[in-house]
């Protein structure tokens, strides 16, 4: 009971938000003469044969892994009060550079994969670090600089793809970097299905799932159990209390962005190392922004982000069956968008309710000491605000 008590309030806001979003979406669909229940039915239909069902599961999981990593990267920034909108550019640049690096060498299996991962993390961390340095030294708003750098990354990637890193012969339909040799592939996990006696579908489950899970655990431990993580979280909760406790605010900004960037570097790797094995024009963009949604829905905690990623992946997967059943498939994006907005509102409302009830619960009769504990202290009238753009 106490476990539920503790977890309950934390779940309240996101669950409420999802419910509200579903209700609103259903209403919209009904108004436009689309049967919401049929839509949900199609979405939940994983197919008849076990192979089809497992395939659906694999598709969802494969989609969820990069979403999870994106959410993780954004969440690390959010926990410190920083907004890393630059994830989009960070992972793009990281993926192409890592793909080229991976194609250029041949090493024994784990080393090869390790090299690709390290290169990706380094590139993305540096790209994110640039934002931090600009903010800390020149006072440039991190929102603007990361957006601009997203475009620079886009252009750079395009140039690299068609220029120095080009691997495909001229005249190809799809341009890509050179293929990464097999030693740089992450094997799939389909063996697990055999282990459990389940159907083994042709669709391969990304082995990177394991690495992503480990990343999630590491981040969780880092944030919750290390001194650095404590400093990071304290800076996000109350910058003034953190400073008074000895945290160097500027250094914290740089370190956080580097960490966030490093995680962002992993986003493109599940696809790269599990199926495409090259960076091509078919690169999956947009995960940076979806990552923000996933982080918000998961309340910036690895466990919640995992669940949120699964939810969004589930919704994404429903696009094809919906189209086949002749429904407007983009109802999925409406649901996703509504969920995000509902979540942020619900979070805010829940926070206020919790604060108010805690204050009321601790109400005392007139303090016999020097007066109301709630009034502002003298000696300084500058409001503390969580300023936005720096």
């Amino acid at each position: 009971m106490t476990a539920l008590r503790r977890v309950g309030p934390a779940l309240f806001a996101p669950v409420l938000a999802v419910v509200v979003a579903l209700v609103i979406s259903s209403a919209v669909m009904a108004v436009l003469q689309v049967d919401p229940f049929r839509v949900f039915e199609v979405m939940l239909d994983f197919g008849e044969t076990p192979s089809q069902q497992i395939t659906a599961l694999v598709v969802i999981l494969n989609r969820a892994v990069p979403l999870f990593l994106a959410g993780l990267a954004v969440a690390v920034g959010f926990r410190m009060g920083l907004f890393n909108i630059g994830v989009e550019g960070q992972y793009r640049l990281a993926t192409i550079v890592a793909a080229a690096a991976g194609a250029a060498v041949t090493l024994p299996g784990p080393l090869h994969v390790g090299l690709i991962v390290v290169v990706a993390m380094l590139v993305a961390a540096l790209w994110a670090g640039l934002v931090a340095v600009l903010k800390v030294t020149r006072g440039v708003s991190e929102v603007i600089s990361s957006i601009m750098l997203n475009y620079v990354a886009l252009g750079l990637a395009s140039y690299l793809l068609t220029g120095p890193f080009r691997g495909s012969p001229p005249g190809s339909q799809i341009v890509g970097t050179a293929d990464i040799p097999e030693s740089g592939w992450v094997p799939s996990l389909n063996g697990i299905f055999d282990l459990f006696g389940l159907a083994n579908p042709p669709r391969q489950l990304y082995g990177f799932l394991i690495i992503a899970a480990i990343a999630g655990i590491i981040v969780s431990v880092l944030l919750n159990r290390t001194r650095f993580g404590f400093d990071l979280r304290a800076s996000g909760i109350s910058p003034s209390a953190a400073s008074a406790s000895g945290v160097n605010a500027r250094a914290m900004v740089v370190k956080t962005m580097l960490l966030s960037g490093a995680i962002a570097g992993l986003i493109g790797l599940p696809d790269l190392l599990g199926s495409t094995h090259a960076y091509t024009t078919n690169f999956t963009a947009g995960l940076g922004f979806l990552g923000i949604a996933v982080a918000l829905l998961g309340r910036n905690r690895p466990g919640g982000i995992a669940l949120a990623a699964l939810l969004f992946a589930f919704l994404d997967r429903a696009l094809v069956p919906l189209q086949i059943a002749d429904f407007p498939a983009s109802v999925v994006t409406i649901i996703q968008g509504t969920i995000v907005l509902a979540v942020v509102v619900a979070n805010e409302v829940a926070k206020r309710i919790a604060r108010r009830s805690a204050e009321r619960g601790s109400a005392e009769p007139v303090a016999a000491g020097s007066g109301p504990a709630g009034t502002a202290p003298a000696g300084g009238s500058v409001d503390e605000r969580q300023g936005v753009q720096a």
Binding site: L32, V34, G81, L82, F83, L134, K135, R138, G139, V140, S141, E142, V143, I144, S145, I147, M148, L149, Y151, V152, L154, G155, L156, A157, S158, Y159, L160, T162, G163, P239, A249, V253, F289, L290, I292, A293, L296, P328, S330, V331, T333, I334, I335, Q336, G337, T338, V340, L341, V343, V344, V345, E348, D383, E384, R385, Q386, G387, V388, Q389, A390
Partner: protein, 425 residues
């Protein structure tokens, strides 16, 4: 996003460059513009890149600058009232969709109205979330961007698939009428005197002719409206009581509240106007393309925000930011060799900066500026043509560079981003 990094001493400062440029308004501004023109002229003559000041480049620059400027104006209204609006992109998307939907059925005027209304609805949503529910402004803006894209796609799918008028999931049917287009009579059309002057390639005069012709030939009605909105916004925000109150909400909402200004209501109005303006930017894009197309906005909402910050939250500065972006974008679209000429310009400017810093004994900054100037010059001399990928982010890099150089001296509305709850301040 954090105030811990700026102390009161740092924030108060107004740097020499910004002071020179923004104080004592119009006279100085003309001198600066003249200086820029001369510089461009010089670079054109040296490099032989006529595209730098040709009327076609200028014309394209104007077309590219307008949607950014409109989005930036939207941001101006919102932020001057204290609400950060990252959702401009989403509101622009809604505007494009609304324009397409109303436009194919009822013509270009309806398209304008449709875009405004849809953009305003996006603004309303942002206002409800931030002002009434107290959600963090940036988070709400991002949520709206996601939602808007989804709504546009969804509505298109619903209304445009199997639509006899045409269109599909990612685009609307074509607009049923196009907006009128104007040209200046003698100078830019007919005898086209300016065009004549431009073709002679005389130093400075031809460049001036190119600039003037570019902005007066084939100008659409909406372009004109957008350009007029700049001074109109200035008048509204700095010369009326409404404007004073709105700006007060962004500077010190508690003070405004204590004087009877309805702070919540003003914020609502400002954010809704903000959405409408972003929507208008979307309408403009639809007019150029003739239809609504998915991803038409291409991030212009964000660039508009950058132009806003670049312009120090003033309409004039915003316009110059949009113009800078539009110009560099036009240049890179028209001619990749011309962009190389820009490197010469950068070299000249940074050399001047290096000299200035050295004179003021800031040797580290002087050295950095000098090094970059030399690199830029070398680049100009060695490179013939920049590859398309690199050149595509010319405008973004330019904006970032300028922001980095001037950023510390910007002053945003003091209560921008503050989640204002009555009684807590």
């Amino acid at each position: 996003m954090s105030t811990v990094l700026t102390t009161p001493e740092e924030r108060a400062g107004r740097g020499p460059v910004t002071t020179r440029l923004t104080r004592l308004g119009s006279r100085r501004v003309w001198w600066v513009l003249a200086g820029v023109l001369v510089l461009l002229s010089v670079v054109r003559v040296i490099s032989g890149q006529d595209q730098l000041t040709s009327s076609s480049t200028m014309s394209a620059a104007l077309l590219l600058a307008v949607p950014i400027g409109l989005a930036g104006l939207g941001g101006l209204f919102s932020e001057r009232a204290g609400v950060v609006n990252i959702g401009l992109e989403g509101m622009m998307i809604l505007g494009t969709w609304g324009a397409g939907w109303a436009g194919y059925q009822w013509g270009w005027a309806a398209a304008l109205a449709g875009g405004l209304v849809f953009g305003a609805l996006g603004g309303l949503l942002h206002a409800v979330a931030t002002v009434t529910f107290g959600v963090d402004h940036v988070v709400s803006g991002v949520a709206i961007n996601i939602l808007a894209a989804g709504i546009a796609r969804f509505a298109s799918e619903l209304l445009y698939t199997d639509n006899p008028a045409g269109g599909g999931v990612t685009q609307s049917p074509a607009l049923s009428s196009k907006p009128p287009v104007l040209s200046l009579p003698v100078l830019s059309s007919g005898p086209d005197l300016l065009g004549d002057l431009e073709a002679r390639h005389w130093f400075l005069l031809s460049d001036l002719a190119g600039v003037l012709r570019g902005v007066t030939q084939g100008v659409g009605v909406l372009t004109l409206l957008a350009v007029l909105l700049i001074p109109a916004t200035y008048l509204l925000l700095w010369r009326t009581a409404f404007g004073l109150r709105l700006r007060a909400c962004g500077e010190n909402p508690a003070a405004a509240d204590s004087l009877g200004v309805p702070v919540y209501r003003m914020k609502y109005v400002a954010v809704i106007i903000s959405g409408a303006l972003a929507g208008m930017g979307g309408v403009f894009l639809v007019f150029i393309a003739g239809i609504y197309r998915e991803n038409q906005t291409g991030g212009r909402g964000f660039i508009g925000l950058a132009a806003l910050i670049f312009g120090n939250w003033r309409p004039g500065g915003l316009a110059s930011g949009a113009a800078l972006f539009g110009f560099s974008d036009a240049l890179q679209l028209r001619s990749r060799t011309a962009v190389v000429a820009l490197m010469l310009l950068v070299a000249i400017v940074l050399a001047a900066v290096a000299v200035w810093q050295a004179v003021h004994r800031r040797l580290l900054r002087a050295t950095v500026a000098a090094v970059v100037a030399v690199a830029s010059l070398v680049g100009y001399l060695l490179i013939d043509q920049l590859p398309p990928g690199i050149v595509s982010f010319t405008p973004h890099l330019t904006t970032l560079l300028v922001l980095s150089l001037a950023s510390q001296r910007l002053r945003m509305p003091r209560a921008d981003g503050l989640v204002y709850r009555r009684g807590e301040h």
